[in-house]
């Protein structure tokens, strides 16, 4: 496969306007599947969470999961959608070995929720900007099984010796949320895409309807992108990039497609309407199957199910269970935390709003929570190339570390080592402290001896302090800390030095 020519993002934007459509698949966290009673837990032995219904055995029939409908309605309401008074499931017919019935029970022209919008706060060079993203629809469907291609170098089907299929995932309820074309974002389009998916994730988390873990596939994003000549306001031919499974990739994939498509168009070529695959490692998209009119899913209403007709009373009841809308929520949190606009912007921009909120709920002060997430942990996430939320550290862990600092049992330096341990999977903060022996020493006996050593080793410094130059104590504290390998209570060390030197 030849490497495509790319145009620089800046040049591309000078000539073209990007339009994006984002399709997000969310796996619901219902206890049972969309159409049967099988459990939905992640990571079970292959093909142990299956029954005649989700295996599509001849004669088996689906029954709609009421909780999944409830979740779909709540998602629709949270996205300011209208909720259908009457809608049906439809069969999407196509052959694939990991799809047991060779049709997917989905919704077609009658989605449960439609015509909504959501506001997205985007951290741009110009500050926190709000974009309104229109929601086309949110509909219910079932997930497919999962194919594992064995024997190939890439894990892809090409080159594999054989494939194995795990049907545990088949029938897990999915909500597909589709935006209308997002236009006019210009160079901020990739940022808007990332912010939309990130904030949609927070919204879903707030609703409690999904685990929204991108790395486990419980939130999957397809990025549709097209270009049109700048200023014309038309829609060009789009590509649909699949497999975009991290927030960072959403931004990168949009960025890449702008550069790729613009190079083709500028060269007089045309964009092929096709599915493209995103490659996290190389940061490029490659052509998948060509999408054309030949692909005909032969949708028709699922005759084994009756229409879903949520009563208005039920819908209103569910509306009452919605969490606060994002904008109001941000305002309330900023006020209660006492954050400056800049602090708030950084927190939202880093995708740390929920994390800070949960850390505060676990007992930390807002400033401490913000400090850890936006400095030490943001650095770690950046190094690992993941989002904050994907780090294996919980808000409760962060609150615990801060509590230990507040108690004087560790200091900031040790706290960073505690986080290293937690991130390395060594256990909870307390377990890491115990196993790495990280507790600060505030025992006067040990400290006193170390202070005596330091005074003896640095008589000149000691004299200055005796003469009243208290600021010089820092050098002695440093020496003590070094001797204690950082595990000393710096405040107590200072007190001891001053005491001993009668300063």
């Amino acid at each position: 496969m030849s490497t495509p020519t790319l145009m620089s993002f800046e040049d591309a934007l000078a000539a073209f306007d990007p339009a994006m459509g984002l399709e997000v698949h969310v796996e619901l966290n219902t206890a049972s599947k969309m159409f049967c009673g099988c459990p939905t837990g992640f990571g079970a032995e292959p093909n142990t969470q299956v029954c005649p219904v989700c295996l599509g055995l001849p004669g088996a029939m689906p029954v709609v999961n009421r909780v999944a409908v409830e979740s779909a309605i709540r998602i629709g309401l949270a996205l300011n959608c209208r909720i259908a008074e009457w809608c049906r499931f439809a069969r999407k017919n196509y052959f694939y070995p990991d799809m047991p019935k060779n049709f997917q029970t989905s919704q077609y022209d009658e989605p449960i929720a439609f015509d909504g919008w959501t506001e997205v706060a985007v951290d741009t060079a110009d500050g926190l900007e709000t974009f309104r993203v229109e929601i086309e629809r949110a509909h219910m469907e079932e997930d497919t099984g999962k194919s594992l291609h064995v024997g190939g170098a890439t894990g892809r089907i090409h080159g594999a010796d054989h494939s194995l299929v795990d049907y545990n995932r088949a029938g897990i309820p999915l909500i597909e949320i589709v935006t209308k074309p997002i236009m006019g974002a210009r160079e901020k389009a990739p940022l808007v895409a990332k912010a939309y998916v990130g904030q949609l994730r927070e919204l879903l988390l707030g609703l409690g309807v999904s685990d929204v873990r991108m790395e486990q596939g419980s939130l999957r994003c397809d990025v549709n992108l097209s270009l049109s000549p700048a200023g014309e306001g038309t829609l060009g031919t789009r590509t649909e990039t699949k497999n975009v499974n991290s927030l960072r990739s959403v931004e990168r994939a949009a960025h890449y497609e702008v550069s790729r498509q613009s190079a083709i168009l500028a060269d007089g070529g045309r964009i092929i309407q096709e599915t493209r695959h995103w490659h996290e490692d190389t940061g490029v998209t490659t052509s998948g199957r060509e999408k054309s009119d030949a692909e005909d899913y032969r949708y028709f209403p699922e005759p084994d199910l009756v229409p879903v007709a949520p009563s208005r009373e039920w819908v209103e009841e569910l509306r009452g269970t919605l969490p606060e809308p994002p904008r109001e929520r941000r305002g309330r949190l900023q006020e209660s935390w006492g954050f400056s606009d800049l602090e708030m912007r950084d927190t939202v921009g880093a995708g740390a709003l929920v994390l800070v909120e949960q850390t505060v709920a676990a007992g930390a002060s807002p400033q401490a929570a913000r400090k850890w997430w936006l400095s030490e942990l943001a650095r770690q996430a950046n190094e690992q190339g993941v989002e904050l939320v994907d780090l294996p550290v919980t808000p409760a862990d962060v609150a615990r570390v801060q509590a230990l600092v507040d108690e004087g049992r560790i200091n900031d330096k040790l706290a960073r080592q505690v986080f290293d341990g937690v991130l390395d999977g060594e256990g909870t903060p307390d377990e890491v402290i115990a196993s790495r022996r990280l507790e600060v020493v505030s025992d006067d006996g040990a400290l006193s001896a170390a202070v005596d050593d330091a005074i003896a080793a640095h008589p000149d410094v000691a004299d200055k302090i005796r003469d009243g130059k208290v600021a010089a104590a820092g050098a002695l504290i440093g020496a003590v800390m070094k001797q204690m390998r950082g595990q000393a209570d710096a405040g107590r060390v200072r007190e001891l030095i001053l005491e001993k030197l009668h300063a």
Partner: protein, 507 residues
């Protein structure tokens, strides 16, 4: 003990209750009968000798302990091979399901077991219930016990022939466009298609989900009602199952047996008589209507103008749903798997193609192609969408008719049993057999076929169909039972008593 096989299921239940016979004895009698005649009839695809005897012994034990599972405990039954039976092969008459043994029971089967009915085996059918003659079975046709050179109707020819040939006291059939009623008519048996949603479809391997309905295949109307009561009623596993109590069909059948039709309004459907109906079929039908009138029924002619479009709409909706239902037979998880010739390491797609090519018969392929076409983008509105509109019109015709009358009647099938092979090369002629039965499926209303006599010209059985509004299944039982009483009195005994004796020669 051939006399045991001649008795109705109701009579057998009484004999079991009084201790005159045992379930093992009468199950053995039926197994013997199967051994004797099924070589020529070929009603069964699979006889579960060991299993049914074990179930019969268990039934006898329950009776002996004074704890029968139901009033029918121990009366054996045959089941159409379209219903999933745990541990028993289920093929739908297709090669593609050869060797498949379901890990679960259809709800209907589960209810049979719960009532203590030992299952003799699985009966033959047109492949995936596509056909009106049982000639489309991949395992060879079933022969009509009245004339072995003729078809037993279809798709449930196996169940009807088994009951007509006294191989089973009763059986379960399924009816998508007449597959219970038309075989009933051409074999001189009773076939009942309940209200859509009245009997669970869970485990019924779908031909056309919006039309399919399982129901009783019996020799008397009372037996049909008794069986209906066993299998009917709401099932949470079938979302289209109606969550309402079943009407008292047994009481209705007993009531109707008095032959008094005073006050019952009967509509003769204008569009389902006359032209296209064999003379002898029409004559027997007219006679039946005359008898109803004499018994006090108020008979009027009603028009259901949209019924003339029923066949066309049916042959769009059915293939559309079927094409999608049959997509799952892809050799990936169960059933037949054929590796294509000349390909070293075939892909999944190549295996699917080879398997479906080898595993499906011509009629199935024909309907998959029809249905795929009808659902295609650009054609959907013209075909599937339009057919659904016709369906609505047909429902409205029924509604209007049932404002005037309590039940509708027509001949069940336009002809008596035709000869094997006669219509095999003419699908449209074959489809026309279901002309009178299809409207009930499109509208979801119940219908029963009861024997109306023998056609003069060929001496073969004919049937009359009684239709009622949805969830008024009791009405068809009442009128069906009345017709049965009136006609049996006239014949001086059941119609099947006039069927020729089978010789037991192997076909």
């Amino acid at each position: 003990m051939s006399d045991l096989t001649r008795r109705t299921a109701a009579e057998l239940a009484e004999a079991l209750a009084s201790g005159d016979t045992s379930s093992v004895e009468l199950t053995e009698a039926h197994l013997d009968r199967i051994t004797y005649v099924d070589g020529e009839v070929h009603a069964f695809l699979h006889v579960d000798t060991d299993g049914v005897l074990a179930q019969a012994r268990a039934a006898d034990d329950r009776r002996a302990a004074g704890t029968p599972a139901s009033g029918l405990d121990g009366v054996p039954i045959a089941v159409k091979d379209v219903l999933a039976t745990q541990g028993l092969p289920t093929t739908c008459g297709s090669r593609i399901l050869e060797g498949w043994v379901p890990p679960y029971d259809a709800t209907v089967v589960q209810r049979l077991r719960r009532a203590g009915l030992p299952i003799l085996g699985k009966t033959n059918m047109d492949e995936f219930a596509m056909g009106s003659s049982t000639e489309h079975s991949a395992y060879g046709p079933t022969h009509n016990p009245w004339d072995l050179d003729r078809i037993p109707g279809g798709s449930g020819g196996g169940s009807a022939a088994a009951v007509a040939a006294f191989e089973a006291p009763w059986a379960i059939g399924t009816d998508t466009g007449g597959s219970i009623r038309q075989p009933g008519a051409v074999t001189g048996t009773v076939g009942m298609k309940p209200t859509y949603g009245g009997v669970s479809r869970y485990g019924l391997i779908a031909l056309a989900n919006s039309l399919d309905q399982a129901g009783p295949v019996t020799r008397t109307v009372l037996d049909a009602a008794l069986l209906h009561e066993v299998i009917g009623g709401h099932d949470p596993l079938d979302s289209t199952s109606i969550d309402q109590p079943l009407p008292d069909v047994v009481a209705a059948a007993r009531h109707g047996a008095d032959g008094d039709m005073t006050g019952v309004r009967v509509g003769v459907v204008k569009e389902l008589t006359g032209e296209g109906y064999q003379v002898g079929v029409q004559a027997r039908f007219d006679e039946a209507v005359q008898l109803l009138m004499e018994a006090g029924a108020e008979v009027v002619e009603v028009s259901c103008p949209s019924f003339v479009h029923a066949l066309a709409a049916y042959y769009l909706i059915l293939p559309a749903e079927a094409s999608s239902n049959l997509a799952r037979f892809d050799a990936m998880r169960y059933g037949l798997r054929v590796l294509p010739d000349g390909i070293d390491a075939p892909s999944a797609e190549e295996v699917m193609r080879a398997t479906r090519d080898a595993g499906f018969g011509d009629e199935v392929k024909r309907r998959i192609i029809l249905g795929t076409y009808a659902l295609s983008s650009g054609y959907y509105d013209a075909y599937y969408g339009q057919a659904q509109k016709v369906r609505t019109l047909i429902s409205r015709d029924f509604q209007a008719a049932f404002e005037q009358v309590d039940v509708l009647v027509s001949p069940t099938a336009p002809t008596t049993a035709f000869r094997l092979g006669e219509k095999l090369d003419d699908p449209v002629a074959m489809y026309l057999n279901d002309l009178a039965t299809i409207p009930a499926n499109l509208a979801g209303v119940p219908g029963i076929s009861v024997p109306s006599g023998l056609a003069e010209e060929d001496g073969l059985p004919t049937g009359v169909q009684v239709l009622a509004p949805a969830m008024a299944d009791d009405r068809v039982y009442r009128v069906g039972a009345a017709l049965e009483t009136l006609l049996t009195d006239r014949w001086g005994g059941p119609l099947l008593a006039r069927a020729p004796e089978l010789t037991g020669a192997t076909a």
